[in-house]
């Protein structure tokens, strides 16, 4: 995302910067327009919940696996939610196989923080034998094609997958658990929506493409809840922001999150 090896030629870089300075974009969008997005749930049978998001050409699949294990030491009475992101080598010519790099770690952690800060699950309810056995909810984000803005696409895929996810029901007897073979919903309580912007020159543009991320000065992700409160912020990239930039970004993010929330709800009904 931040500098993927200078794939954008110098001419294209200059062109993108010029076009954005005029208030336009290479693909004809307005500065604050999202690309078309498609959300599909239940795309995989063997996971407890799954979703696929296509945001323009960016393609992310999220799979939820629910297991049982020991809780974290500092939260013994709570279930565990963990996000992991994988940049598969099929997603972009510059993505290589190997251990997660800082970009994929950042993606996983920003999505993770959004879900956790918003408390999308009742973590106390996910404890089976408090202190000993709890539900472990793993959300694995698989990037299958990269064309910018992985965070928004992944956050959307994670929520969509969790909303359809089920957990196996266990009977608890004297500190031991026994599988019942039944399944019930994970009960997602909140729906945080991430809005990512990049700054190119003096302009903030929403939902950056891969080329735009390559030439950006900085990137800012703001995740919001339904009531308009902010639950995660992440700034990336090697430039600084002014206080005015921050205020403007918060305003744009609030509007875009509300719009996207409506779109998502509309698509879920259809």
């Amino acid at each position: 995302m931040a500098s993927r090896g200078g794939i954008v030629s110098r001419l294209k870089r200059k062109k993108i910067q010029e076009v954005v300075a005029e208030g336009k974009r290479m693909d004809g969008r307005g500065l604050e327009d999202y690309r078309e997005f498609v959300v599909k749930t239940g795309v995989m049978e063997k996971s407890e919940g799954s979703a696929e998001v296509k945001l323009g050409k960016t393609w992310v699949v999220a799979g939820v696996k629910v297991g049982v294990g020991t809780p974290f030491e500092d939260t013994p009475e709570m279930g565990v939610l963990m996000c992991n992101a994988e940049f598969t080598p099929v997603a972009h010519p510059t993505f290589e196989p190997g251990p997660p790099d800082e970009e994929s770690i950042e993606l996983a952690r920003v999505v993770d923080r959004g879900l956790r800060s918003a408390e999308i699950l009742d973590f106390k309810k996910l404890a089976l034998v408090p202190g000993k056995l709890v539900y472990l909810v793993h959300v694995d984000l698989y990037v299958l094609n990269y064309d910018g803005n992985l965070i928004d696409a992944s956050a959307l895929a994670a929520i969509a997958a969790l909303k359809t996810a089920v957990k196996p029901v266990h009977k608890v007897k004297e500190g031991e658990i026994e599988a019942t073979g039944k399944k019930e919903s994970l009960e997602v309580l909140k729906e945080p929506v991430a809005v990512t912007m990049v700054k190119i020159g003096d302009s903030l543009i929403v939902d950056p493409s891969a080329d735009e991320e390559e030439v950006m000065d900085l990137r800012l992700t703001i995740t919001l809840e339904k009531d308009g409160s902010i639950c995660t912020i992440q700034k990336s990239g090697s430039e600084g922001l002014t206080m005015e930039d921050i205020q403007k970004a918060v305003k744009i993010a609030s509007e875009k999150a509300a719009e996207n929330r409506k779109l998502i709800a509309g698509k879920a009904d259809a």
Binding site: E73, P100, E102, I105, E106, A108, R109, R113, S117, A118, L218, L220, E225, G228, S229, I230, C231, T232, I233, Q234, K235, S236, G237, S238, E239, G240, L241, T242, M243, D245, I246, Q247, V250, K251, S254
Partner: protein, 242 residues
């Protein structure tokens, strides 16, 4: 969660005012073998930072033909927290290393040193909430100590919310039990925010107040960083002119 400490209405759990930063001590040039270094105590946080470079980049293929590459590594000692943590870098460490780099890069004249590397290593010896801000504060002083030309100092401080009160420079307890945490790094002379993250839940209005509060903290820390450098390098140019 269980060890919730009592606090009076206005004062914080450690007796500070809402807009009060913890005591800070910065010393530059503490590591004899590093090109530049600094040690910081920010409350109970203890961080030592060493800067190496500009030096030849290894591996060479990662070097940039037009500028130096700033590499940051944030690392916590196994004994810095309770319980002991593994010395292997965690996902959190990797992310902090990255945001630290983004926080410092805008201040450094990287274009002066094509093909070279500047390595910044932050070792957290004791953690007490706000280790990334303490590491950035020390790293800036260490970069100056290494003689690397900079546009501005980078000062860093967090603000957040606990018990519905907005507070500056969160301690460990406030960090863990609080409602939100907003770490900020700021270049005071240039007026630019170079690190901005948030955890927890805040209204947009509260968030903007937190950023302003954190910037106030950064301005105060800026003076402490200057003092630490003046202590070693004597008077600044303006003072000599006077």
């Amino acid at each position: 969660m269980s060890k919730r400490k009592k606090k009076t209405k206005e004062k914080r759990f450690d007796g500070r005012e809402p807009n009060e930063i913890r005591p800070i001590k910065i010393e530059s040039g503490v590591l004899p073998n590093a090109d530049g270094s600094a040690y910081i105590e920010m409350g109970k946080n203890k961080v030592v930072v060493g800067v190496f470079g500009p030096r030849e980049m290894h591996p060479k293929r990662l070097s940039k033909p037009n500028m130096a590459t700033l590499r940051c590594r944030y690392h916590m000692a196994p004994f810095s927290v309770d319980p002991r943590r593994s010395p292997a870098p965690s996902r959190r460490d990797n992310e902090i290393s990255m945001v630290m780099r983004y926080a410092l890069e805008p201040a450094v004249f990287l274009e002066r040193y094509p093909r070279s590397a500047i390595d910044v290593y932050a070792e957290v010896l004791e953690a007490d909430g706000g280790t990334r801000t303490a590491s950035i504060n020390a790293a800036t002083v260490a970069l100056v100590d290494a003689g690397i030309p900079m546009r501005d100092l980078v000062s860093s401080c967090a603000a957040g919310k606990i018990d519905d009160m907005l507070v500056l420079d969160l301690g460990d307890y406030e960090d863990k039990e609080g409602q939100a945490d907003v770490p900020v790094a700021y270049m005071p002379k240039l007026g630019k925010v170079t690190l901005l993250q948030m955890d927890g839940v805040l209204s947009p209005d509260e968030f903007e107040k937190c950023v302003s509060l954190a910037i106030d903290g950064c301005n105060r820390i800026y003076e402490i960083q200057r003092e630490a450098l003046k202590k070693k390098y004597g008077l600044t140019e303006e003072e000599v002119k006077e």
